[in-house]
Symmetry: C2
């Protein structure tokens, strides 16, 4: 568990050529490398050099319509993270998988397998799928509504956890003399029959090194936050200013508390978009350069998708047509991001073109554009002011922007005693300071 | 395609501590390593030293009831093969995935991703799931019958192939100057609505290095063979003698021919259980040693599962109760194996104990127990006599038995001009001498 002294937790948001939507057009990036393992190995090594807690890989089950002008995520999380596991030794590996379009048995098994392969370095970012078009890659039924998806997610996660616990520690005996390979008294069926799933169990993979991979969540709707407070050990969130960061942090810790959990069992990690320069001017120049590379047609498409209103015919200097936008509670998926960006447009009275540029890099996340000391200042403020337990880092471009962060900002944080200088443990639970869940015996896995 | 001179194709059946059911009890094996990546890396390196075509990983979605006395397969194929891909450079990686308990979108995507990660080294062993208990890990419905599973498999595979072709070669443009990342004229929806699946597409991974990963199949029922003749590029099979090997080989090539395919487009690869010794006596002694390590309770359980008759109370010296066994056409899953072992018991009038020992190593596959020259002789006979295009190698124990095969039998085969001395290409299609499928344009992916 957490010692008296808090330390920051830092994940890298492993996003193709970087978090800025035009990063792939920058001279320093290689957008063709996003399907090559070498590229991710290089990023993994840089992140491990920086002693980061983990790599975090987002995911969707649909080709974005914006792919004409926007680099892909590229590869599938289980396969990519397993490959990265083989060429790294300490960094955590957090993969995204949807509870709406998967089976609990497969998900429990793949994460257990990945946890063995990586020596206990995995986490599961639980999503319920926000994309309405993704639904049609899995049948002819529309995306279930928000509440329904979260009810399914609740049961899904309970089944997965029970499958992980269906092997007790020590069930694998492998006693050559007696010929007993597994102790059947320590392997338990679930015989689960619920509203969404019937799963007999047990799992066909021995208990994972971490007992259970770390559970991560990023929902920011009411349903999403309740769910996270109940099950998540780390929460990723988009908060674009310090005050809202503090409010969210307090809210999540309170919610966890009300679920009977210690606030320490839930790490709150806002996204942080970073542009690092040796001088402030250099950082701002890089941000301006990236801004110049945005493709207006893409920006219009991105806002249209977010706002569920077709803006593609609008001139860039027209004001954002706030009166046409739907109410937040009509949004089924990505609701938090919708509210955040809609608020930004309303508050600052932005034109469409301005909103595109304002959100092209940070996309609604907090942004730190400046020198290593300035970035470290901002991170320290959020961390000490209880707006964050750490950050989900979103370098403007990669691998260059990541290398700059690791080689320039990390030493600043280390010098201030805010971040580890060496890994102290081996598993993701070690890095996060989270306990390894105990087993629960035969009756315990009966839900 | 194949040049005038035929060469053998050799896959390693990547089976935990080896193919002999008691291999895990042998002093030279480490049954605890089956959940450790290091173990598979070591095997991958040995296999690559031997210039083998591929590693083949079988899979099931259920914990075998026999796990009390029998080492597990251990890890999940996509995660394990991706990790092995990262530490090998040439060897092919064939993973098993069921069409009965998966979604085509996920399977297409994971194999496409694995193909990128490995630089074009993947193959999909298509199974329809034979285990009746596996069904209950995915709902409360019984395993669909054989014919129904194959109807679903037919459509499943067509959808997966269309998803692989939903990106044409060259669709990923990544033109920094124009801001065009993907050429939408080369990315195609499927809009598929069939009896089993509705899948909109396109895939969210660019076209794989091999165009399509290699399709492998191992069904030996009538439905299975028809399916393989239509879609498979390699067929794994259990044939326990040369004559039945020849008959199966001819049958499969004829079937492929009747489907309008060249016989060269379908590799027939029987399993070959190997026990290597520097002398014949040494090999036989090792086989005897392994036989002594079999656990009778496990053997009885294994035969009970195969025969669908409870033999656990029977004495080992009782004859196999042939009169109690079901008819082959009542067997739903693993029917080929059932017939083969039932025939063996009938033909040779075996006791239960004898049948257990006879099948503990080879489990119904051809067996070669002897010196490197003797094993090479047998392989040459099968290969030249058109009983095999190569073999799915099943070393008695691993990694030792594999290393013996690679270091002693492979040079024999190379000296005889039967097997490659160096990899000539990079992809699994290169190794198998199979062409890279062309794309098929927008209309082509409409099934």
């Amino acid at each position: 568990m957490e010692t008296a002294k808090r330390h920051m937790h830092l994940n890298l948001f492993l996003m193709n050529t970087g978090h800025h939507e035009a990063s792939w057009r920058h001279p320093d990036t290689s957008p063709r490398r996003i399907t090559e393992l070498d590229y991710y190995c290089e990023i993994g090594r840089i992140a491990e050099r920086g002693k980061l807690d983990s790599l975090f890989l987002a995911d969707t089950y649909v080709l974005p319509v914006t792919v004409r002008h926007k680099v892909l995520h590229g590869l599938e999380p289980f396969t990519l993270l397993a490959a990265i596991a083989a060429v790294t030794s300490r960094i955590g590996l957090i993969g995204t998988a949807s509870t709406t379009y998967n089976d609990p048995f497969h998900i429990a098994r793949k994460f257990a397998s990945l946890d063995h392969i990586s020596g206990g370095r995995t986490g599961w970012n639980i999503v319920t799928t926000a994309s309405e078009s993704a639904a049609y890659n899995f049948g002819d039924r529309a995306l279930p509504d928000h509440a329904q998806r979260y009810r399914r997610a609740d049961e899904f996660v309970e089944v997965v956890k029970a499958l992980w616990d269906s092997w007790e520690d020590g069930a694998l005996v492998a006693d050559k003399d007696s010929g007993v390979y597994a102790d059947m008294d320590k392997i338990h069926p679930l015989a689960h029959k619920g509203a969404f799933f019937s799963v007999q169990g047990p799992l066909n993979v021995p208990r994972a090194p971490q007992g259970q991979p770390v559970l991560v969540q990023a929902g920011s709707s009411e349903d999403g936050k309740s769910f996270a407070a109940k099950v998540a050990e780390a929460v990723f969130t988009a908060q674009n200013d310090y005050r809202s960061g503090q409010a969210f942090y307090r809210d999540m810790k309170d919610r966890a508390n009300r679920c009977g959990r210690s606030p320490d069992e839930l790490r709150v990690l806002p996204g942080l978009y970073t542009v690092v320069g040796d001088t402030e001017a250099e950082a701002k120049e890089l941000e301006r350069e990236l801004g110049e590379l945005t493709v207006p047609a893409f920006g219009l498409q991105r806002l249209s998708t977010l706002f569920k209103v077709d803006l593609t015919g609008y001139p860039l200097d027209a004001p954002v047509p706030l009166e046409l936008l739907p109410k937040a509670d009509e949004i089924n998926g990505n609701r938090g991001r919708y509210e955040l960006i809609e608020n930004m447009a309303r508050r600052e009275k932005l034109t469409i073109g301005q909103l595109i540029k304002r959100t092209a890099g940070s996309r609604g996340h907090a942004a730190a554009v400046g020198t290593p000391a300035q970035i470290a200042d901002e991170m320290e403020r959020w961390f000490k002011g209880e707006a964050a337990d750490g950050f989900n880092l979103m370098p403007s471009h990669m691998p260059g922007g990541l290398a700059d962060f690791v080689d320039k900002v990390i030493p600043e944080l280390q010098n201030r005693g805010l971040f580890r200088s060496e890994y102290e443990g081996y598993t993701l639970r070690d890095h996060y300071g989270l306990p390894r869940p105990a087993g629960r015996g035969r009756e315990g896995v009966r839900l």
